[in-house]
């Protein structure tokens, strides 16, 4: 049996303007970015800490070698954006839960937003303006492909 709607029930309540539910989208973002971050971070950890000589192999030439490959440029850009926003939104949740003082909460939320924006801009600029062969750089510290040119 199908339920019969109350007559004119559609126009008894005043129609509210539909607002974007940011809290809901934040909730969805944590889960969607979380799935991507599991893959991105474990991949990052494998390449940098597990394979080869692990952490001891990391230096300027190592990073330059990775970023000579567009694959890792995209990988690290996604990591930067997804992880920082995921972490910033997580910290926002904690501040909303535990910072009872209004002023303190406002200060902390602004600090989180500011550090997120600043670090995303900084990190993105670093990745896309990176010079693997800086002029006058100590050749022993540069990746091998700098010598070819």
């Amino acid at each position: 049996m199908t339920a019969i709607p109350v007559p004119r029930s559609g126009d008894t309540a005043p129609r509210k303007k539909r607002r974007v539910n940011w809290e809901k989208w934040g909730w969805i973002y944590m889960r969607v970015s979380g799935v991507f971050l599991v893959v991105l971070i474990f991949g990052h950890l494998f390449v940098n800490l597990v394979s080869g000589e692990g952490v001891k192999a990391i230096d300027f030439a190592f990073v330059a070698g990775k970023w000579a490959n567009p694959f890792f440029v995209v990988w690290d850009t996604l990591l930067l954006w997804l992880a920082l926003i995921h972490g910033g939104n997580g910290m926002r949740t904690l501040v909303n839960d535990y910072a009872n003082n209004r002023t303190l909460r406002k200060v902390l939320l602004i600090a989180i937003l500011a550090s997120t924006v600043i670090l995303i801009v900084l990190g993105t600029l670093v990745i896309y303006t990176f010079d693997p062969c800086p002029t006058g750089g100590d050749a022993s510290l540069l990746p091998d492909f700098c010598k070819a040119g």
């Binding site: 474990f42 692990g54 001891k56 990073v63 910290m91 990190g123 670093v126």
Partner: protein, 110 residues
């Protein structure tokens, strides 16, 4: 309750490492010497143990995060939330057992 407490603690720890990690990596834009000097400190025994702790924290946060997604979106997720937490803990131990020897070998090996 503990699954949730651990998720928050590991989340905060990972967040503060991320802030530092973006800043230290940004030194590649400054000069090879500056970057190598700072990344050199990551290869010391104390920081090597710190990286192990970081991976342990990330391992829990990742596995429990996937569990949270299953609780939220899988039709019978809430019914199995306790069982899934035990599975998370088992996978976490396996992950640590796989990574720890490798990391200790890299940091303390010759």
């Amino acid at each position: 309750m503990w699954s949730w407490v651990l998720h928050r603690i590991t989340g905060v720890a990972i967040y503060f490492f991320l802030l530092v990690h973006i800043l230290d990596t940004s030194l590649v834009r400054l000069s090879p010497e500056a970057y190598n000097a700072v990344i050199g400190t990551y290869k010391t025994p104390i920081m090597g143990l710190g990286e192990l702790a970081l991976v342990i924290a990330i391992g829990y946060h990742a596995l429990n995060g996937l569990r949270i997604i299953l609780i939220d979106f899988w039709s019978v997720g809430t019914r199995y939330q306790k069982l899934m937490w035990y599975i998370v803990l088992i996978l976490w131990v396996i992950l640590i057992a796989g990574f720890a020897p490798r990391q200790l070998m890299h940091v303390f090996g010759s």
